[in-house]
Structure formats: structure tokens, C-alpha cells
Symmetry: C2
DNA sequence: CGAATCATCGCAAACGTTTCCGAAAATCTG
DNA sequence: CAGATTTTCGGAAACGTTTGCGATGATTCG
């Protein structure tokens, strides 16, 4: 509605005595225009403060030169923590900008359906490509994006079939390694703290946990799997449940490391000292948990590098104009994490 | 570059035997088209999966129907964490959607200049209006936005002159109230933990702190003001500095409550028990700090409501087509916070 | 030196939508 | 019932950019 003051390409062209097309080409660095004119145009554009109108350019070219990262803002439930997306987008942005792409984040609030939210964003063509997070075990968004042939990468694995790119932290591997470590230390009843979400991370983590148990020849006990609702308060829930068990576990494995805070507190109140009487391992090393005592054993990942890699995968997807043949299994890449040895387990 | 499969308004129109204009009007709910045709068009649009192309519509209308929230992702330095923006955008989104506006977040990474970042976003017309955060004491972005006559609201107060809308938490009031509380309890040397940033929050907080001191007839000592770099690790820095002081303070006031985590730890290691030997007050009640022992005295704010209010202010700004007369002082609104009485101070 | 290639640039047609303006039909008014 | 008004819709011109195609002059080649 509002008239934006900016000058257009036409003004710049007539101002220079050149044609619109030449100016356009110069601004896009086309080799069809001579070096000198190109410089001249660039300089004048800078002087007049001309910046190409995004709507016009994307209407014509069909691309917005942006990729969108969709993210749930439901802070109680989403598994990612205090600075996860921030650190991630640091790297993602860096990676994308090297390909001339801009990053924007689409926040999906808790009273919106995350599927509909994405469909709308896609249909409105808010971005050329999408990163979907909070991936569900069977995620309809994946089908939608594939059907519409819009480039995307799933941040998180999924059981949804099809040929698409996915990048995830190695939830299964981490869980297994953690269990291996615990059983090697003699633990035989290990409580598993998951999330109430239906994300695939939960399943992968559970799966790795089971693998770890069978590695040690231990039985799987469904009773030992807890799924509290809240990311942070969930730790206290877990502690309460743990304290009520007839045969008390000797170790806890948490998919959400911030749960350790409430867990520690409740345990201490009950006279159980974490790290001594009860081993605790968290999924990801988290600055927020840095000051827990004892320090929390967990797995480290360079989130900036993770985001950077995500951008690289995205760029690859964007250059894959058309999938040659349909692969029925996703091209999943697991990002490595390394154990950081700490006091809690 | 990629051909998006979607059908256009033309297809839908010819499919219905109607004109493009009628379809366009129907989709926008114009009163110029009869109720029945409107319903018919809507139904057919739904059936064919037609969704208006955003580029075309915003090229013509000049507005994208989106507002952008700019956010620094430099997690070490920015005062607000990811959960802050998440909770905020929950409310903001709700508020904006009631006016048919979409919200998108523009993440500015640490290696980008946040001014240039905004200029670019504005010039590319990525959104109709902007919320700028991490507001500097004198913020050139404000001048830029005002000059370009693009609607915005500053999330954070500033000393930049001019007629614009700003919304902020009451940093000054909180600091003053905290100091009042501490002096009333007999404290005379209160350490102030700020951030190394040049944001106005720091100045406001400092100002309130000074006000609080003079309320109690106490002198201001520059030595007692610390500005650690890191949001989380800063607390440990503060503790170290505190322990080295010849005349040791008896209370600490933190603009960034997560600093309390490192602070607590370092103090405990030195045999000083927070809450008993050393009063601690944090700025904002934060779920991340919930499990600190002793519980952290701080100030509560409903971030969702804060975001909602932010949206309301934004909508008001968008409807203010043109400022009638230039007011030289910003229209600043302070959002209330309430003290939550806890054990630490 | 004529022809062929190449470098550089202009013309004009899109891209998909909104909206001004006018026309036709329907309704109202006196 | 004639004229005036309202309702409902269609035609067509924008919005600012990209890009296929053609034109011009310069350069190269045999």
C-alpha cells in the first residue's frame, strides 16, 4: 500500500543513458556486458542507492534467492534448546551466503499446525527452499515438498519414504555409545528420558538405547522409558518417577540434557548424589548445563559446523535440478558427535 | 529458475468462466463481488489448490504482508537468548496474524554488521515493517528506517532522537527496584553485572542502578560495574573479579540472569554461599535458571504477552500512514515486570 | 579484403497479480 | 415507468525485473 521511495532500474538506466537490460545484466554480473560499463553502472547504482526490487525480480525469475528454516517456537516442547537454532543459523547463514542465498526463519507458534504452516509458506513461495525441523517419524511435510518438487532438506531423520536429503545428529549412535559406556561401568538398569513429542529423534534415541542394551545382553524394559512433557521441568518428573521405582535404576540417559537440572535437584533432595549414586548422561553438551555439579557427561557437536554443513547440503539440493531416478530411501547424513568425559557418568 | 507447478489466477478464472479481476477480488474478500460468486470461487480455488503467488501480488500492491523481526544470532554477546525470541514470537505471531500479517525472523550472524544487514533487508523489501532488536544506544538503523519511511518498532529503548515507536522491558525500573530492595536489606556495596554490548539496556540498567544508589544516599563506584563478554560464562568472570576486590561487595545485580549459574559455582568454590553470604538478583526470571539453589530473585515478565503487545504496537505503526508532525522524542512504552521473591537476595 | 565470428548492447515480451475505470444488469426512487 | 442509483463484473494498464532475440560494430580468419 505504501509507496516505497526507492528508485527503479528504469531511473538508473535513463540516468546513465543505457538500456534497462544492460543495467540488469550489469547488476547480476552477466558476462554479456563489458567490464567498464559494468563498473560504471555499479558505481552509479551505489551512488544513487539503487537496489533491485525483490518482488519484481522474483516474479520474473521465479526464485527469491532465499531459503527458509522452519522452527517451532513452542519452547516447552521442542527438543532443541536455548541456543540451538541460533548457533545453527550462524553456520547455515555463512554457508548459504557463499552461494548468494539469504536465510530467513519462519517461526511456527504453538497454536498453529506445523504442517499447514509449511504448506502455506511453500504455496506463497516465501522461499525457494526449506529446511524443516522438528521432523516427525512419518512427516507429511516431506511428501508435500516432494510432490511440489520444492527443494528441501530435513533437519532430522524420518521414516518417511522417498528420495530426499536429510541431515541429523546421530541420536542412535550417541544413545548406543552412552549405554555401552554405562553397561561397561556395570550399570544394568538404565532409565531413558525421552520427550513426549513424536519426533524421530525420540525413536532413534530409543533404538540406539535398545541396541546398547542388547550389546550387553541386557533385556529391554518398557517401564524404564519416560516421556515427560516439558523440556526443562521434565527432569524433575523423571526423578520422581525414578525414586518411586521398586527396583531403582542406577543410571539415567537423557535425550534432553537440560532435564539434568531438575533431575539433579530432585535427586539431591532425596539424598542421592548424581554422579556418585546415580550416573547421568545427557545427549548434547549445552552451555546452559555447564555449571551443573557434577559436570554432565554428554556429547559435543559444533553447532556452527552443523549449520554450515546443512547449508552445503541445501546448496547441493538446489543444484539438483531434477532427481534422475527416484531413490526410495532418504539420503541421510549423520553429523558426528564426540563424547565429553565428565563427572556425572 | 525452477518452474513451480502451481496454477495461476488466470487458470482459475478461465476454469470458472469468470474474469481475472473478479477472482482476484474474491480471493481478497472484496465487497465488490457477490457472496455467491465469492463462495464459488473460493471453493474452486480450494479444489484446484490455487494459492496466489506472493511475488506477483507484492509487486503489484507494493506490500508483502509480512513483518520481519531482526535478531542477532551471536549467542555469546546478545543479551537475549533463543528462548527469549521464541517466546516473544509466539505472542507476536498471534497478534500479527489477527491483522493478516505474517511474521518472519531475519537472523543476523556474528560476522555480519547488523546495520548493513538491516539496510539490505529493507532495500530488498523483504518485509513491510521491521522489529529491530539489540538496539544500540545511538542506533543508526532508526535513522535509516525513519528516512526511508518504513514502519518499524524498536524492541528496546534508545537515545536516538525522533518520532518512532519503541517498546522495552523496564530495565531502569527493575534495576532501581532491585537496588532499593538490597539497600533496604542493608547492603551498601552492590556489584553490577552488565554486558559488553553497547545496547541501551545496559545504560538503562546502569541508570536505574545509580538511581537506586542515590535513593539510599550511597555513592556510585565505577569499580563495581563489570562488563563481561559472554552471556553465560560471564558469571564466573564476575565472581573472580568480586573475589579479588579489597572491599568485597555483599550483593550482585545481574542484567543477564544466566550469569548467575557461573557466579554461583565460583562463589561456592570459594566457600561463599550465594543467598547467605552474598545476595544475588537477576534481571529476568528464566526457566533455565529455575534449578539454581538458592532460587534466584528476579523479575517476571510474560514474554508471550510482551510479544503480543509488540504486535499491537506494530499494527498501530502500520496504520499510521504518515506521521502528521514530527515528535522529537520516541514514543516509548515500558512493559511491566514484577518481582518474584526468591531465596538469593 | 570479404566473410565469419564475437563482444556488447537495446527492444520488447513476459512473470502473476491488483486496481482504476467503465459497462451492464439489477434495484430503487418519485 | 423513466431516470437515478447501486451492485456486480470485465478490460486493461500497471508494478519492476529478467531474458530471448536481434542489431550493431569490432575483431578475426582464410
Amino acid at each position: 500500500m505504501k509507496k516505497r521511495s526507492g528508485i527503479g532500474i528504469r531511473d538508473l538506466a535513463s540516468h546513465l543513458g543505457l538500456s534497462i537490460s544492460t543495467v540488469s545484466r550489469a547488476m547480476n554480473g552477466s558476462p554479456e556486458v563489458s567490464k567498464e560499463t559494468q563498473d560504471k553502472i555499479r558505481a552509479e547504482a551505489e551512488r544513487l542507492g539503487y537496489r533491485p526490487n525483490q518482488s519484481g525480480r522474483s516474479l520474473r525469475s521465479g526464485s527469491t534467492n532465499t531459503v527458509a528454516l522452519t522452527m517451532r517456537t513452542d519452547i516447552g516442547r521442542t527438543v532443541a534448546g536455548e541456543t540451538f537454532f541460533m548457533a545453527l543459523s550462524e553456520g547455515l547463514q555463512a554457508s548459504l551466503s557463499s552461494a548468494g542465498l539469504d536465510l530467513l526463519i519462519l517461526p511456527c507458534s504453538s497454536d498453529q499446525d506445523q504442517n499447514e504452516f509449511l504448506y502455506r509458506a511453500v504455496d506463497r513461495h516465501l522461499a525457494d527452499a526449506f529446511v524443516i525441523s522438528n521432523v516427525q517419524r512419518y512427516d507429511p511435510r516431506i511428501d508435500y515438498l516432494r510432490r511440489g518438487d520444492v527443494p528441501f532438506v530435513a533437519l532430522g531423520s524420518s521414516e518417511t519414504k522417498g528420495d530426499y536429503a536429510a541431515l541429523d545428529l546421530d541420536f542412535a549412535g550417541v544413545a548406543r555409545a552412552a549405554v555401552d559406556r554405562l553397561t561397561a561401568a556395570g550399570h544394568r538398569r538404565i532409565l531413558l528420558g525421552l520427550t513426549s513429542q513424536d519426533t524421530n529423534s525420540n525413536f532413534a534415541f530409543l533404538h540406539g538405547y535398545q541396541k546398547g542394551l542388547s550389546d550387553a545382553g541386557l533385556p529391554f524394559d518398557e517401564e524404564l522409558v519416560l516421556r515427560p512433557y516439558d523440556r526443562i521441568a521434565g527432569g524433575a518428573e523423571i526423578a520422581s518417577a525414578l525414586l518411586d521405582m521398586k527396583v531403582r535404576p542406577t543410571a539415567v540417559l537423557l535425550i534432553q540434557e537440560t532435564m539434568a537440572m531438575g533431575l539433579y535437584q530432585k535427586l539431591n533432595q532425596a539424598g542421592i548424589s548424581p554422579g556418585k549414586d546415580m550416573a547421568v548422561i545427557g545427549f548434547r553438551e549445552n552451555p546452559v548445563c555447564r555449571y551443573l555439579a557434577p559436570t554432565l557427561t554428554s556429547f559435543r557437536v559444533d553447532l556452527r559446523a552443523y549449520g554450515y554443513r546443512l547449508g552445503e547440503v541445501m546448496i547441493r539440493e538446489l543444484n539438483l535440478s531434477r532427481r534422475p531416478e527416484a531413490n526410495s530411501t532418504p539420503r541421510l547424513e549423520l553429523f558426528p558427535m564426540v563424547l565429553v568425559d565428565a563427572e556425572s557418568g
